[in-house]
Symmetry: D2
Subunit: 338 residues, 4 copies
C-alpha cells in the first residue's frame, strides 16, 4: 500500500504513520520526494485496512497495490471453475444457452416456451416468479405459484431451472425449486441476500448492478464465496451510461477482463443488456466471440402479449435463428454447442 501525504504534513506525521504500519507487522517504507512525502507498507496490505489511513487528515491519498478481492481471484485459484447446474456444466468446453420467458405467466405458457427452447437447443430454463419492477403498478410475478410451475416444467423436460431470489428470507424456499439461483442487478449489493445464498450449496448466477464497477461485482461474489459457496457464475447484463438508444449499455469489455482476473464462469444477458430485440442476436454472438461461457436469453411464445419485457424477448422463430447464428461463432472460438 502506498500512502501519499499532504504537502503540509510534518515529519512527525510520517513517523507516526510508519510506526502504526510497523505495529501491524508490515514493513514500513519512507520515500521523501521533492513535492510530497510518500510512505509504503510491504506485506499483506489487507490487514492495513484496520488503520483507516485514508481518514487521516494529513493523508492525501491511499493507493492499494493489490486487488481487494481474494477468493474469486485467479491468482489464488488459477484454474477455471466449472459450475454444475443440474447436469449442465457452465465454464468448461461447452457453451451454454439458458433461455425462457421473463416471467412465469401460466403453466401453459411456461410449458410451451420451455419445449420451444429445448427443441432449439437450450440446455437450461430461466423464468422469474418474483419480479423486481421499477414501478409498483407493474406486474410483480406469480410468486410461489410461479415457482412450482417452473419446477414442474423443468422436471418434465429434464431442464435445470434458474430463477431469481429477491430476499434473504426467501432463499430456503427457492432452493427447493431451482437448480440455480439468480441474484438480480438491483440486488447485487444486497449483502444479506449474498450471505444467505453463500450459506447454501446451490449454484448462483450473480448479475452485475447497473452502477457496479467490475471490481464491485467481484467483491459481491467474494461475499458468497466467503460464506462457503463457490458455485458462482458472474453475469454481465448492461450498465447505465448516457447512451439512450439502448436501455442499458452491455459492457462486453468486462467479459475478457473478468476471465483474466477470476476463475469463475462468466455469462452474458443480451436481452436486459440492450433492451432491444433486434440487438439480442448480434450481441450474443459478440459475447461468445470475446470469451463468455454462455448466454441468458429471454424467449416468449408470443412477445406481443408478454406481461413484462416483451420488447426485448425473442419469439420462437427468432430463438431458432439465434441458435443457428450463434453456433458457428461459438465453434470459431474453439468451444462446443449442441
Amino acid at each position: 500500500m502506498i500512502i501519499v501525504l499532504r504537502p503540509e504534513a510534518t515529519p512527525a506525521v510520517a513517523d507516526e504513520i510508519l510506526a502504526r504500519i510497523s505495529s501491524l507487522g508490515l514493513k514500513p517504507l519512507h520515500m521523501p520526494g521533492s513535492e510530497r512525502v510518500v510512505l509504503g507498507a510491504l506485506g499483506d496490505e489487507r490487514v492495513l485496512a484496520q488503520l483507516h489511513l485514508e481518514s487521516h487528515p494529513m493523508v492525501e491519498e491511499v493507493k492499494p497495490i493489490l486487488a481487494p478481492y481474494k477468493l474469486v481471484s485467479r491468482e489464488v485459484h488459477p484454474h477455471d471453475t466449472v459450475v454444475q447446474i443440474g447436469h449442465v456444466p457452465i465454464g468448461g468446453q461447452r457453451f451454454a444457452v439458458i433461455a425462457g420467458p421473463c416471467a412465469v405467466e401460466s403453466r401453459a405458457q411456461m410449458k410451451n416456451t420451455a419445449q420451444i427452447v429445448k427443441d432449439a437447443g437450450a440446455v437450461g430454463l430461466r423464468a422469474g416468479a418474483f419480479k423486481p419492477r421499477t414501478s409498483p403498478y407493474a406486474f410483480q410475478g406469480l410468486g410461489m405459484k410461479g415457482l412450482e410451475i417452473l419446477r414442474d416444467v423443468g422436471a418434465e423436460l429434464s431442464m435445470p431451472v434458474v430463477t431469481e431470489v429477491l430476499e434473504a428470507h426467501d432463499v430456503d424456499a427457492v432452493v427447493q425449486h431451482a437448480a440455480c439461483l439468480q441474484i438480480g442487478a438491483r440486488n447485487m449489493q444486497n449483502f444479506a441476500l449474498l450471505k444467505a445464498v453463500g450459506q447454501t450449496r446451490t449454484p448462483v448466477i450473480l448479475k452485475r448492478g447497473m452502477a457496479a464497477r467490475v471490481e464491485d461485482l467481484l467483491l459481491a461474489a467474494e461475499y458468497i464465496l466467503a460464506e462457503g459457496n463457490d458455485q458462482v457464475i458472474l453475469c454481465e447484463r448492461g450498465i447505465r451510461t448516457f447512451e439512450t438508444c439502448t436501455r442499458n449499455t452491455l459492457d462486453l469489455n468486462a467479459v475478457p477482463y473478468m476471465k483474466q482476473k477470476t476463475h469463475l464462469p462468466v455469462v452474458v444477458d443480451p436481452s436486459h443488456g440492450t433492451g432491444i430485440r433486434d440487438l439480442v442476436i448480434p450481441m450474443a454472438k459478440a459475447a461468445a466471440a470475446c470469451g463468455a461461457d454462455g448466454i441468458l436469453v429471454e424467449v416468449h411464445e408470443d412477445p406481443k402479449v408478454a406481461w413484462s419485457d416483451g420488447a426485448q424477448s425473442l419469439d420462437p422463430a427468432g430463438f431458432r435463428r439465434f441458435m443457428k447464428e450463434l453456433a458457428p461463432v461459438v465453434r470459431a472460438v474453439g468451444r462446443e454447442m449442441p
Copy 2:
C-alpha cells in the same frame, strides 16, 4: 400515450392497435404522417400498460405523456408534505441538520459525538448499526447492540434518531429503536424492503441509488406511499459518473427538480455525495441554496480512527464551522435554522 409504428406497419396493424385501445375505454387517435403512422390514446394512460404495446413487433416506440408516478406527484397533492421525525419537522420553514457518525462503534463514542452535534445545533442524530459494505472484509456494524446504544443515546439527549434498515425482515426490530428509518442507496430498488417500510407508519429517508434516475427514485417512493406510509423524505446522495475526483457526483440539480415534481421533503447527504471532507461544507451550503429541506452529515469525534468512512467525516471543530457557515445561506433563502 403516443405509439409510433414502424415504417413497414400495415393499416391492419394500426386498426388492430386502435381497437385494443378502444376496448380499454380510452379514446384512440389515428395520425398518419408522411414517414410514420402515429397512434394516440386519450385518457388515463396508466391502464394502457396492460396492453404492453412496446412489445408489439410493429411498434417502433411508445412515448408516455404522463409521469409514471402518482401519489408522490405534486399534481395530485400540491402542498408540501411535512414529515415529523419525533418532534422535528422536515419539509417546512425550518431547515434541519441531522448529524452523527457513519457507524455506532461504542456507547462512549456515540454519546460523545451526539453531545457534540447537539451542542452545535443538530436536531437529529444519525448512525448505522447495520452497515452495507462493498467488501466482505470491511466492518459490518454492531447490529442489534448498536441499535440499542443509538436508541439510548437519542433518548438521553432528546434527539430523534435515524438509522438504516437493510432487510424487510429487520423492519419490525428497527422501528422499535428509531424515530426514522433510512433506506440506503444500494437498497433503493429492494422492493420487498420498500413494501415492508410502507406498511409501517414510521418516517423513512429514502436515498437515491447510484444508478437511479430521479424518476426511479420517485417510483421507489411511490412503492412506500402505495402501501400507506406517506412519511417519506427523499435524499440526494450522489450518483455514479465518469468523474473520479469525487467518490460520487452529488447531483444537486435533482433538488429543485424534485421540489417541483413532488410534495415530499428533499434532503441532501454531502458526506456520501462527495466522499471528501473538504467538500462537505461548500456542498451543504449549495444544497441549502437550491432548496433542500435539510442535510444529513457524518461527524466523528476523531475521524482518523473512525472504523468506516473517516475520509468524509467532519471532526467536532469542522462540524461547528459547518453550522456556522451554513446558517447565513439558509437564512438567505428565507428559511430558519437554530
Copy 3:
C-alpha cells in the same frame, strides 16, 4: 411532432400553437387528455424546428417522431454504402483490418511496422502525424514530416494510409498525403472541421466522441454528407462511463444499432476503445461477430519503447495472433478476410 402542454396552459395557448403549425403547411392535431393537452403536427417535422416550440413557456415537452438525421439514414438510402480507401473497399463482403502505430516516430519505425502488418494481412496502414494529447507535456506528433513519411511508406508497400486531421485549416495538406482522413473522438463535434472534410471527396473515418450518443455521431456524419462527401466510415472507439478497469467502455451495442439505422460502414477501434493490450484481440473478435465492417488497431514494433499509447499496442507477434484468431470469427459471420 408531439407537443405536450403544461397543465396550466389555457385553450388560447393551444389555439396559438395550432395556428403556428398550420402556418407552416403542416396538419395540426388537437388531443385534449384528462391531465394534459397534447398537440400534434403531421408532415415533415424538420420544418417545425424553426418554431422553437420547446422554448414556449407553456410547452412542457416536445417529442419528435422522426430521427433528426436524414442523409445518413437507411430509410433514405436503403443499401449499404461501400467506401473505397484506395483499392480497399470498406463496407462490403470483405472485412478490413487497418493497422499501424499510434504515431509516426521515424521512417525506420514506420517502414518496419508497416511491413509487419502487411505481411500479417492488414489491408490499410494507420498512424498519426498530428496527435491530440490531453497533456501539453506529452508528445504531439511529427507533423508534416510525419505525414510525408507515412505517405512514402504507404506508397512503397501499396497500402492506402489513414491519418488524423486536427483542424479545418490542415485539410488541404492532409488530403495530399492520405487515402483516408480520420476525425478523432475529441473533434467529433468540431463542426468547422466536419464541413471542411465534407467539401473534399476523400474518404473519412469519423470516430465517436467520448460523450457522444449514437444520434450525435450520426448527426456529425450528416454534416459531412450535407457538404457533398458521402464517403464516411463511422468508428466506435469507446465512451466514457463510470467503469475504470478499462480506459474507455467500448460500446459494441452501437455497431448493430448503427448498421440498422444507417447505410454507412461501421468499424471498431478496440485499442483506444479499451486501452488495454490484453483486451484488443477478444474485443476485435466481438466486433466482427456483431457486424462491424472492419477494425482499426494499433501495432508497434516494440510497444515498450512506443512514444504514445504503448499500453494498448500489440507487438508483432501479438498482431499475428490477432489476425489468426480474428479470421475464423469473420468467416463464422459470413464475411471474408485475407
Copy 4:
C-alpha cells in the same frame, strides 16, 4: 511515481526498469512485496513520462503521485488569480454575472437584451456569433456580422463582451471584437485552438467538456498557460450522465474542488448546465453558495421566439428575479454583488 510489476515479472525486469529510472537522474526504489514487486522513482516524475513505463509488458500499473498539471496548480501559485475582462475583475471579492442571449439574432434584439441585463445588474455581456450546433440543420449563428453587432452594443453600453471562438483560424478576428474569448465544451480538447488562444493576451473562459474529468479541464487550461496566457477562467457547465431529467448534469462539486486545486477563477453556467429554465435560478444560487466566482446565464428578450436554446433562457422578468434572489446568497458567503 509508483510502478507495480506483474506477478510473473522476473528480478531482471525490475533491475532493467530501476536502471532506466536512475539514468534519468531520479532515485529508484525497490519494494518487493509478498504478492507483487513494486518500484518507485523519487524526483520530478514528469520527466519519467518519456520512459513510457505503462507500455512495458511486465508493468501492471503505473501510479503517478503528482498531478499532471503544473502552471494552473495552486501549489505552484498559491494566490487567487484575478482575471480582468475589460473593467470587470473575475475571481476577487466581487461576484460577477455575465448575461445575454444564446446567439446574436439582430441588432435590435441584442441592444434590447443588453439594456435589460445591464439595468438588472449584469456586469458583462455574452452572446454567440459562431454557434456550434449538433445538427447541421440548426441555426449556425450570424458569424462576423454578429460579432460586429456584439462589439457595437457592448461599446455603447460600456459592457465588456464575451463570445465563443470555434477555430484557431478565427482567433485573430474574434480578439478584435471581444474583451473575453470563450472556448466551448465541444472544443475543450481542440488543442490547436487552445494553443492559438494561449498566444493572445486576451482573457478566455474555458468550458468543461461533457466527458471531461476535472483533471482534463485543468490540463486543457495548462495548454493555454503554457503558451503564455494566464488570463483563464474555468467554467463548469454540466457533464453527461445517465440522468435525463436535465439536459446535462451540472457538477457543482467541481467548483470547490477546483478552487482548492487551482488559482484560476471558476464560473458556472446553469443555463447549459441544466437546460431547464426553472432550474437556472436555484442552481445559480447553489453555485454562489459553494464558492463560484460568477455566473454565465442566458437571457432572451422573448425566449419563446429565440432561435436557439430558448428552453433554458430566462425572460426579462426572470432575470430580474434571478438577480434579486442571487444577491442575498452571494452576500451570505461573504462576497459582493452590485
